[in-house]
Symmetry: C2
Subunit: 359 residues, 2 copies
Amino acid sequence: MREQQSGGDRGAADGRRRDKRPTMADVAARVGVSRALVSLVFRNEPGASQETRARVFQAAAELGYRPDSAAQMLARSHSKVLGVAATVRNPFHADLVEAIHPVAERLGYDVLLSVTAPTRDEVKAVEALLSHRCEGLILLGPNTEPEYIADLGRRIPVVVVGRRFPGRGVDSVHTAEAKGVRQVIDHLVELGHRSIVHVDGGRQPGSVERRRAYQSAMRRHGLAGEIRVLPGDHTEESGVQAAETLLAEPRLPTAVLAGNDRCALGLLDALRRAKVDIPGQVSVAGYDDSHIAHLSYVDLTTVRQDPDRLAELAVRTVVERLGGADLPAREQVLEPKLVVRGTTGPPPGRAEEAAGAGG
Amino acid sequence: MREQQSGGDRGAADGRRRDKRPTMADVAARVGVSRALVSLVFRNEPGASQETRARVFQAAAELGYRPDSAAQMLARSHSKVLGVAATVRNPFHADLVEAIHPVAERLGYDVLLSVTAPTRDEVKAVEALLSHRCEGLILLGPNTEPEYIADLGRRIPVVVVGRRFPGRGVDSVHTAEAKGVRQVIDHLVELGHRSIVHVDGGRQPGSVERRRAYQSAMRRHGLAGEIRVLPGDHTEESGVQAAETLLAEPRLPTAVLAGNDRCALGLLDALRRAKVDIPGQVSVAGYDDSHIAHLSYVDLTTVRQDPDRLAELAVRTVVERLGGADLPAREQVLEPKLVVRGTTGPPPGRAEEAAGAGG
DNA sequence: ACCTCTACCTAGAGCGCGCTAGTAGATCGC
DNA sequence: GCGATCTACTAGCGCGCTCTAGGTAGAGGT
């Protein structure tokens, strides 16, 4: 490691550095008004003249004043902060987080994000949020003990996003997994596929539902004999492993439904790398429609879970509860939507036929 | 949208729900001691007997008490909170964030994360952090006006990670971009490449340095005539675009150095999709070694920027400043390390030769 | 008996803000 | 000319905690 020094414009030269941050009282003193007036101005409440407002803002800018949210929270009965727990590596969570911000803002709430990672468990993330005075919690595809979450729900409003959470008095918002899966299977069968494998999501959110839906959809199409579920989870690695399993066998299936987009990505790349033509030889479908799937280089057929809609509902639900709504726990289920892109097509030998029919 | 109701175990049935959260005073009252004593116990300070400690914790657990960090912050002179601003979609940032948490925790700091996204600009993210009373700021590859960051640095300790930030009195921690790029070019030239294109990172962190280093490394190898820089930024899309540009030309280069891993990913996929053999026809190298590059399905040759080291230094630097160290601004530069994986190899026509020599 | 020392505990003043209750001064109605 | 009604502002309590400056009780020394 190398170190360099660059122009030392630190320290005492600059007057305000190092002393404590300015407070409302400092601003008030500078303008020559009371603290309360400054408070009014910053909360945008009536009761101050336009001229005074301008002078207050001016002084605040000069001092570099910024309201202290800790003090605000303390003084207000409510903190106006929503906590979001997400997995840092999950791109769909990234989409959701992005969507949550504007909605919360519109409703006057600040968002605090706490991340879960292999090295940092969910409980810790949630505890951090709680001590930062979140009034409500939005848990993205949580993997913790249901009992823990239920317990949380007894203390503060909690909404679980992206997974079912029935019978525990906690609100949830998710898509109709079964319907999404059914749409994909219908799409594939319509294209002429019969040999359709499903790579499972293990104990990840939505997996159980997706697996069951796969099985029943296959049966509905008279393909009970073709049902095959490979174990996996929602990571790229599991897709790669599934691909390796399939490639080691004498005959590839003509289509694979992955547990989610990340898994599909792993599948896709391992297959392409083995010179398998996608979708010529094998069609691949994902689930989530995370921003990765949109990218032209992936161009994945997948099931869209509308993150904007999910985020909107999640935030609204928590805020309603906060508003004192003493309703029983709700489960809000969104319609998923199949998004057909470039990774699915007719199975080998059916290409011309389909081209003729499809128009 | 469908709605369901599930077991309504909400509301008045459960006593504690809806009433305000318990405070230290509640715990104290329950144990029959003073508030101050409870405070001692929770801060793990000497001055309470073992027995009392146990009783306090017991009571706290029964009440579901949790210290209110807003009040703690307010009462303490320092908040013990570090703010991190990251881009939600950047996987390398995810790696860094993950690495920052344990280091901060070890040093007794809590971490607040604020995300930047296309819809939410960096200034807003930083403002949020500041309001939440962060004592120090860690900015991951910031893209804001340098003047703004410099200004910030005058108020509170700020460390910029992943990009140079010279002469503005702000600490920075990054890798020696030039050296990393030189290593890649050396590696490629050694393999026999001459036609090596660089896809630029635009105004993204590190880009200028990488571009310059590419140019000078090429010149050093007597390949001044082969220098070619395509515009781009640090997204997958820009990689795809660069690939399209290259594919539209009569002759492909034999190697491409992308601005970062995301860009490399776009390149890779667009090329493979066009049936270009990687690395048989074209070698591709990235920059960052984000967790995506590790994945077996990507297996990208790239330049490793050690996120653990970067995180460690970043946190330590901020904390040192917080400790009152009144040093001039430091620039800490880490050594990058070339990681050769599967996307680079000898150029077309040199494969056998290299295989013979390489052992 | 008195003093000291240690171990354990308490009172109470803030931290920066929001908010309720109130005041000074201008304008208006009659 | 006096109360009524604004507008523009202020005083001061309390949010839940930390922390300084104590207080008390019992053990031990002289």
